[in-house]
Amino acid sequence: MKIEVTRKQSGIDCDIRMQHRNAQPATAPAGARAIMPNEVDFAPPLAPLAMPKQQIEAVEGRGRRWLPGSGRRMQGQP
């Protein structure tokens, strides 16, 4: 299933990205030091996906019943 989403491409298309293929380890330019942006600017794309909570604990008492007259529980009773 292909999911269509709106992505923050910021004008960088794939061709431009490919120009960096052989880029060397870079030291950030001096201009970077002044940047202290809000973290919201860096947020990943908004594309919600449901993630339901799973049942991971055994359900105590399910499928069990007190055995009549014995005062003890018996396993496997409907």
């Binding site: 299933m1 999911i3 989403v5 992505r7 923050k8 491409q9 910021s10 004008g11 960088i12 794939c14 431009i16 990205r17 490919m18 960096h20 293929r21 052989n22 880029a23 380890p25 870079a26 030291t27 950030a28 330019p29 201009g31 970077a32 030091r33 940047i35 202290m36 942006p37 973290e39 860096f42 947020a43 990943p44 794309p45 908004l46 594309a47 919600p48 996906l49 449901a50 993630m51 339901p52 909570k53 799973q54 049942q55 991971i56 604990e57 055994a58 359900v59």
Partner: protein, 595 residues
């Protein structure tokens, strides 16, 4: 949801071999103990001792069976089409919590460059998921993230977000990303803050996920890198030399119900989202609350929904850092102990596959085996102290105990068998590495043999210490003490004598008291128990000295002699950034100071 997948024939055979081998070894050890005690009548202490040796020996044999399976198995072969390109989108997730952003973001820059070099940049994004609670650390993260973006021109494909609450810890952090942004991606490569991965490896993982629609999770075997101390380098050698063989054996046994180790793996976003939403367990920690060792549970839940969870041991180019000293190792082990014992709550979880329950049981046993060994030693001493027992050591300086009707050979055979289970797999791995020339990457067969011998000796010295740490951890968890989930200690990790005393003084004291009691009351047992109690007495020098730097060639590994591209790039960027950071700080500029 895919159809449920049964284990294939090869997986069943591997499991059967390991189970039968472990059972035979355990029962054999049990029989030897019972035979040695039979002459003067079996009592409760004998039965307890036999039960304990059965469990502990079977556990050792289980590990040895993995190595044997790994030695006789071949890595799977996958052929990558030359013109393959992804048809999917992948995000590399890096959850962090109060980490050093310079080191972490330098690794991301290196991985991004490696991804670009592999021609994958249009299809792979990165997302840093911060759970840092320290505002100073968070400010540094933002600063260094901006620098990362500039250096890699990464806006729009390298992301950063910080949660306001770190509910659910790492699992909750990833879950929050999936709920918010998971729909944008087909796959997620999940890393740790100290993980590093080659772009080509990421590409191959994507290709395998695309090729196998039922594959929900693909795990790699991360190699440890960056070890500088004796302890760190010993672990690094062990992980590079032995772990691939043990891991291959594990992969043969696990089959389609493989492991997830929480990082250096790729998941199918839709499968993970529909299967792995973890609720908090009822009750209070340590057994209730958030699921601590969430990775094992997530692997089990994926398998429950019919997804294949596979461990491909042939995938290279996957790295992580390891603890640099025994104390950091024990601290991490304390967390894992609590996480694994917490799985006892999930043994009866509905719908899990039998193998998943068995994996939980293995995790629990891996920690219970330490107190079991301790109890075996105590019970063995008690058996000798029992008044109606004959005197096993009639002479003052006697090496082997004398049993009525000469049962000495059973006990000696048991000792040799247990040592064999510990040593033989590693020795066979060395022999195979020498034969197939894999040892050349470790400095050659002779150097690998030296590293093997020193690692073996070091393991023997640290085993009693770990027995004490693990036994204490188990007792703490069982008594309801929550150890929390403190962040990993990374970095140099050299320990002072004071720190060693604080961490190991209680072990040294216990060992000294036990040794003294033996000398006074059971001098004949001293020789047998000195390998356990002497390392305990020497806990502080072992902890301190093993945390000191060690230079090659001892514990040489292939990645040192010829670092792969991504390791070299990562080191270069980190060095460059740290130098810039120091220079800017000296000028009163640059990144905010944390703390």
């Amino acid at each position: 949801m895919p159809d449920r997948l049964p284990a294939d024939g090869a997986t069943r055979r591997a499991r059967g071999f390991a189970l039968v081998f472990a059972a035979l070894m355990g029962l054999g050890a049990c029989a030897l103990i019972l035979l040695a005690s039979y002459e003067d009548g079996l009592d409760l202490v004998d039965m307890l001792r036999a039960g304990l040796i059965l469990i502990t020996t079977a556990w050792l044999a289980w590990g040895a069976a993995q190595a044997l399976l790994g030695l006789v198995s071949q890595a799977p072969r996958f052929v990558r089409p030359p013109d393959w390109q992804p048809s999917t989108r992948t995000v590399v997730l890096i959850p962090i919590c109060n980490e050093d952003p310079v080191a972490t973001f330098a690794r991301i820059a290196a991985m991004d460059q490696s991804v670009a070099a592999a021609g994958l940049m249009p299809w792979v994004d990165f997302a840093v998921l911060s759970d840092s609670r320290d505002e100073g650390v968070a400010a540094r993260e933002r600063f260094w993230f901006a620098r990362l973006l500039t250096a890699r021109a990464g806006q729009g494909r390298i992301f950063y977000r910080r949660r306001h609450s770190n509910e659910g810890r790492k699992a909750g952090n990833i879950e929050e990303f999936i709920r918010t942004s998971g729909g944008a991606y087909d796959f997620a490569v999940i890393l740790d803050a100290d993980s590093l991965m080659e772009g080509a490896t990421i590409g191959e993982m994507i290709r395998r996920m695309e090729a196998e629609p039922q594959l929900g999770l693909l795990q790699t075997l991360p190699q440890i890198i960056g070890g500088r101390s004796f302890f760190g380098r010993a672990m690094q050698f062990s992980a590079a030399f032995y772990a691939p063989v043990f891991a291959r054996g594990l992969a043969r046994m696990q089959g389609p119900t493989g492991p997830f180790w929480g990082h250096n793996a790729i998941v199918r976003m839709r499968a993970f989202a529909e299967s792995c939403g973890l609720p908090a367990l009822s009750g209070a920690p340590p057994f209730g609350g958030s699921v601590l060792s969430h990775d094992y549970v997530e692997a089990a839940l994926l398998a429950r929904m019919g997804w294949i969870v596979r461990f491909d041991d042939d995938l290279r180019g996957s790295y992580e850092e390891g603890p640099e000293n025994l104390v950091a190792f024990a601290r991490r082990d304390r967390r894992w102990c609590q996480g694994n014992l917490q799985h006892s709550r999930l043994l009866r979880a509905p719908g899990l596959r039998g193998w998943s329950r068995f994996v939980f049981l293995q995790g629990i046993l891996s920690y219970l085996s330490a107190p079991f060994w301790g109890m075996f030693l105590i019970v063995s001493v008690l058996a000798v102290l029992t008044p109606h027992r004959p005197n096993y050591f009639p002479l003052p300086y006697q090496l082997f105990p004398v049993f009525p009707d000469d049962r000495t050979k059973e006990v000696v055979g048991l000792a040799i068998g247990i040592i064999g289970l510990l040593v033989l797999p590693k020795l066979l791995i060395w022999a195979q590495a020498a034969f197939d020339r894999r040892a050349e990457g470790f400095g050659g067969a002779r150097q690998a043999l030296r590293s093997f011998a020193v690692e073996l000796l070091f393991s023997a010295l640290t085993a009693p210490l770990m027995l004490m740490y693990q036994s204490r951890a188990v007792l703490q968890v069982i008594s309801g003490r929550d150890g929390g989930w403190p962040a990993n200690q990374r970095g140099e990790g050299r320990l002072s004598w004071n720190e060693a005393w604080a961490a190991g003084g209680w072990i040294a004291g216990t060992g000294a008291a036990a040794l003294l009691a033996l000398v006074v009351f059971l001098p004949g047992m001293v020789v047998w128990l000195v390998p356990v109690f002497l390392p305990m007495v020497l806990a502080m020098p072992i902890i301190t000295l093993s945390s000191r730097p060690l230079a090659p060639p001892l514990f040489s590994v292939p990645n040192e002699a010829a670092p792969t591209e991504v390791i070299g790039i990562s080191d270069a960027i980190r060095t460059s950034w740290e130098a810039t950071d120091a220079a800017e700080r000296a000028l009163g500029m640059g990144a905010p100071v944390s703390g």
